[in-house]
């Protein structure tokens, strides 16, 4: 891979929007199916591409967190179904003692016979949500949230900064927790249980807020928020166009998610909305005096990565429009899931980024060229109380 380092795009990795489009398409596709085989395949593709193309940055290790979160979602969903779920007919697995509820709680039932069908349905619904989360996690691991913010049009920059501070807040809290835990241990104080939690909350927040204030003052000292000149008319045109565009995109996305509610799956709405948003931002952004350093380029590779995701989504839409069997899991009566050929092929197309996307540069220099020991000397991550 290192032989391809000459190209400009390789230097800064793939455009973050391409990764988000790719992952977003996969998430949209996942929502349209309840077939556990397809869902598992999507998660596997996401995990594979991440493992092939993630950087060494801290957020790149977030995928495993999303996987764990996904498992928790499935478990919660199934447990809720077993305890509170609507009782559906079918093969009874076991019966929980029924708890009679007062009249006003009608419609909610606790306990009763638990059927295979309802558990299955709950598990698949949970799995679907879990896979959407994994897709989100994949995008997070592949494209730094900061870099995505950099792509925001200048008009949205103000909002972007609020996001920057809050993005920085989460890791600050994690680091503050590590420090406070250490210091409590050094003082012989409990670090577990309620007492530990209570004693930690205040200092953790104190440290993290302190850092956020420091960040804000540092941004100011570095010229953030210098006056921007925008005439009222430009601002109106910009805002109006952006708002209308966003509305259309929302309607379109609804169409994509709710099959058959809009013509052509809502895609024309999204397209038109995107154009309007683009125009609005261009108009409003014309008068800001902020410039951008080495903006991410959108080249062939970006088209391929985003395209592979969109193509996969297209196969799912096509399959559901044409009524191909196998997209939904048949629960009544329970059937083993099939692998419908078209969506399966689509998912495999989404594997393309693993080969097409450039290896991140940090990776080239740190993981391969430099032996681990040398890296140990280069950086000892600040962790806990000893920095």
């Amino acid at each position: 891979m290192s032989g391809r380092r000459g190209a400009a795009a390789v230097r800064r990795g793939l455009h973050p929007a391409a990764w988000w489009l790719w992952a977003g398409s996969m998430a949209c596709a996942a929502i349209r199916t309840t077939n556990p085989l397809l869902l598992a395949l999507i998660a596997a593709v996401a995990a594979f591409v991440v493992s092939a193309r993630r950087t060494s940055a801290p957020w790149s290790r977030s995928l495993s967190f999303f996987f764990r979160l996904g498992v928790a979602v499935i478990a919660v969903r199934v447990v809720l179904q077993i305890v509170f779920g609507n009782r559906l007919p079918g093969h009874v697995l076991f019966t929980l003692p029924h708890v009679p509820l007062p009249l006003w709680a009608e419609g909610v039932s606790v306990g009763g016979p638990v059927t295979l069908e309802e558990v299955l349905q709950a598990a698949v619904a949970g799995l679907r949500l879990a896979v959407v989360l994994v897709c989100f996690g994949a995008a997070n691991s592949l494209a730094s949230p900061y870099r995505l913010l950099r792509c925001l049009p200048a008009v949205l920059y103000e909002a972007g900064v609020a996001v920057t501070v809050s993005l920085a807040f989460a890791p600050e809290v994690v680091m503050a927790i590590a420090r406070v835990r250490d210091s409590r241990r050094l003082r012989g104080r409990p670090i577990r249980g309620i007492a530990g939690l209570r004693g930690m909350a205040i200092p953790v927040l104190e440290i993290a807020l302190d850092r956020s204030l420091q960040l804000a003052s540092s941004m100011d000292a570095r010229g953030y928020g210098r006056r921007v000149v925008v005439t009222r008319r430009t601002r109106r045109i910009g805002n109006g166009s952006t708002a209308a565009g966003l509305l259309l995109v929302i309607v379109g996305v609804y169409g994509i998610l709710d099959v058959g509610s809009l013509p052509a799956g809502g895609i024309p709405f999204v397209a038109l909305g995107a154009v309007l948003v683009g125009v609005g931002m261009a108009v409003a952004g014309r008068r800001t005096d902020r410039t951008r350093y080495r903006p991410d380029v959108w080249a062939l590779r970006e088209w391929v990565v985003a395209g592979s995701g969109l193509a996969m989504l297209a196969t799912f839409i096509a399959a559901s429009v044409s009524g191909t069997a196998g997209l939904q899991l048949q629960v009544y009566p329970p059937h083993l899931p099939l692998l419908p050929p078209l969506p399966t092929a689509g998912i495999l197309v989404a594997l393309l980024p693993a080969a097409v996307a450039p290896r991140p540069r940090g990776e080239n220099s740190s993981r391969q060229a430099v032996p681990t020991r040398a890296r140990a000397h280069a950086a000892e991550p600040a962790e806990g109380i000893l920095t």
Binding site: I191, G223, A376
Partner: protein, 547 residues
């Protein structure tokens, strides 16, 4: 370039002003050093230059601060970003983006500099500060020295006319500090940049400074003058100046080279004196307190310690040295039981610190982190002491008694945050020492500490060692090692590369040798105090011979 005219500043709710009637003019292309005891208002003075004081801190400022003709009264910090760049004490806290290149470009983006000009300046800055190899790296994976250079580069890129740095080398090992300081001198000489910097470790910066601004604190008048002149009478002075005062050299030498030229007679005189006493290594009967056997530890994929074996005995003061990221902090966290080893084992008096419940642990090992304030949660000093007694099951009043021993006369009604750096360290030490742990660990204890504070610390460490406790310091401060340590251990890449009596280890290292040793080499004296007693001793000898 930078003018303070009749500036008085007081923080909200403060009784006395931090800065009182300050008049100061810093010319273009000057490297100006701001020195003074902790809490004297150095940082406040620095942060007033670009208006962070009072715009971000609150408080009342009267008089006028202006830079390049723009007054901070009329211009907010953001509107001065093209004129002055400020680098704070903790570079990591000032990072806004996530990679080196983006961080360098951030200020320029805000200033609206054309993309191709931006690109050129980033490349120039990468070369100027030797950051080329790191351009794509994530900021959080950089070492302290690298982060410091990125922070400097980030403000430099916008080509400001002045650069303000608050303790730029306090987190750096001697070599990295040298690197940062020489880049700064290069900027002053090649580009005519105005640089204002505050620093406690004068031995590192004195050779580079043209003028010194002494902030005595307590609202007293600033003393401003050429470096050599100010240093001759300054209450805070690096060892080389102290030595010059003892030996009566004028003008006061500021570099080791100048001092060596003047030192020939002193060296001859010392050659005849009995060599300094070998540091007491705890005596032959001293028992081992802490042991590391083939200890390995890692952070994620990074191997921080590699099969490290070490034995530390009662009565020893061990200085652990090494460049940033060599495993010092990891060794300390292992000894303190904060992390579990990945291989090998650590024992303190036969127990594994990592397995002990917190209550038991603090009776065995005490650790004071670099930021001593992290250990303190109380509302007042008195509150902190009583809580410590209660939580550790000590007789009420014992922590207070220890505190009185560490630093007498500390105000008990202050909030720990309002204490000076030295007072905070003393309070944290008292809290840690109260349960009488046989092993005391200190991580970079002299960061932000002025010379008197340092002296008190050295006295305390000697006292602890005399009580039979064993002290381990992880530090970059070679002067502290020279004054306090009985033994020095140098780590590199997680392994012990040298281990022996502090005198032998530091004298033979070009990086870790303290100033006095450099001036007097090959004579083995490390500190001014040793030289003084040697001179007195030798004159006594001579008079004995005469009679």
């Amino acid at each position: 370039m930078i003018t303070f005219s009749d500036v008085t500043f007081a923080y909200a709710e403060a009784e006395a002003p931090t800065l009182h009637r300050v008049d100061l003019t810093i010319e273009e292309g000057e490297l100006c050093l701001v020195v003074g005891p902790t809490g004297s208002g150095k940082s406040t003075l620095l942060r007033a230059i670009n208006g962070l004081v009072p715009h971000f801190t609150g408080g009342r400022l009267s008089g006028d601060v202006s830079i390049g003709g723009r007054s901070t009264r009329d211009f907010r910090p953001r509107e001065l970003a093209d004129m002055v760049g400020v680098v704070g004490q903790d570079p990591a806290a000032s990072f806004v983006t996530d990679t080196v290149e983006d961080e360098l470009a951030y200020t320029m983006e805000n200033l609206g500099i054309a993309p191709n000009a931006m690109r050129r300046r980033v490349e120039d800055t990468l070369d100027l500060l030797g950051l080329h190899e790191l351009r794509g790296r994530t900021l959080s994976t950089l070492s302290g020295g690298q982060q410091q250079r990125v922070a400097i580069g980030a403000v430099l890129c916008a080509s400001p006319r002045a650069l303000v740095l608050d303790e730029p080398t306090s987190a750096l090992d001697p070599a990295a500090a040298e690197e940062v300081l020489s880049s700064l001198t290069r900027l002053v000489h090649d580009v005519g940049m105005t640089v204002v910097l505050a620093e406690h470790r004068l031995e590192r910066v004195i050779p580079f400074a043209e003028r010194v601004v002494l902030v005595p604190g307590g609202g007293r008048r600033l003393v401003i003058g050429p470096t050599a002149e100010t240093m001759a009478t300054s209450p805070v002075a690096p060892p080389i100046v102290e030595l010059a005062r003892v030996a009566g050299w004028t003008p006061v030498p500021l570099t080791v080279r100048d001092a060596r030229r003047l030192a020939a007679p002193l060296r001859r005189r010392l050659a005849g004196a009995p060599p300094p006493p070998a540091a007491a290594p705890g005596g032959p009967g001293s028992r081992p307190v802490a042991r590391a056997d083939h200890l390995s530890a890692s952070y994620g994929e990074v191997r921080a310690l590699e099969q490290l074996s070490l034995e530390i005995s009662a009565g020893e003061i061990v200085a652990v040295m090494g460049r940033n990221g060599s495993g010092k902090s990891t060794l300390l966290s292992q000894l303190a039981g904060l992390r579990s080893p990945h291989g090998g084992r650590v024992t303190v008096l036969g127990e594994r610190p990592g397995d002990l419940p917190p209550r038991k642990l603090i009776r065995l090992v005490g650790l004071v982190p670099q930021d001593a304030g992290l250990l303190l949660y109380g509302e007042t000093v008195a509150d902190e002491c009583t809580t410590a007694d209660r939580e550790t099951g000590l007789v009420p009043g014992s922590t207070d008694a220890v505190l009185e021993g560490v630093l007498p006369g500390m105000p008990r009604d202050r909030h720990p945050r309002d204490l000076s750096e030295g007072q905070r360290l003393a309070l944290a030490l008292a809290v840690v020492l109260a349960p009488a742990p046989p092993l005391v660990l200190l991580d970079e204890p002299t960061r932000g500490l002025d010379y008197p504070g340092k002296e008190r610390l050295v006295t305390l460490l000697h006292k602890l060692a005399a009580e039979g406790r064993c002290v381990v310091l992880a530090t970059h401060d070679v002067e502290l090692v020279a004054q306090a340590a009985t033994r020095a251990v140098v780590l590199a890449e997680g392994e012990v590369v040298s281990d022996g009596p502090a005198r032998d280890v530091v004298c033979h290292s070009p990086v870790f040798a303290p100033q006095v040793a450099k001036v007097l080499a090959p004579e083995p004296w490390l500190t001014v105090d040793e030289v003084v007693s040697a001179i007195n001793g030798s004159t006594d000898d001579r008079s004995d011979d005469g009679t």
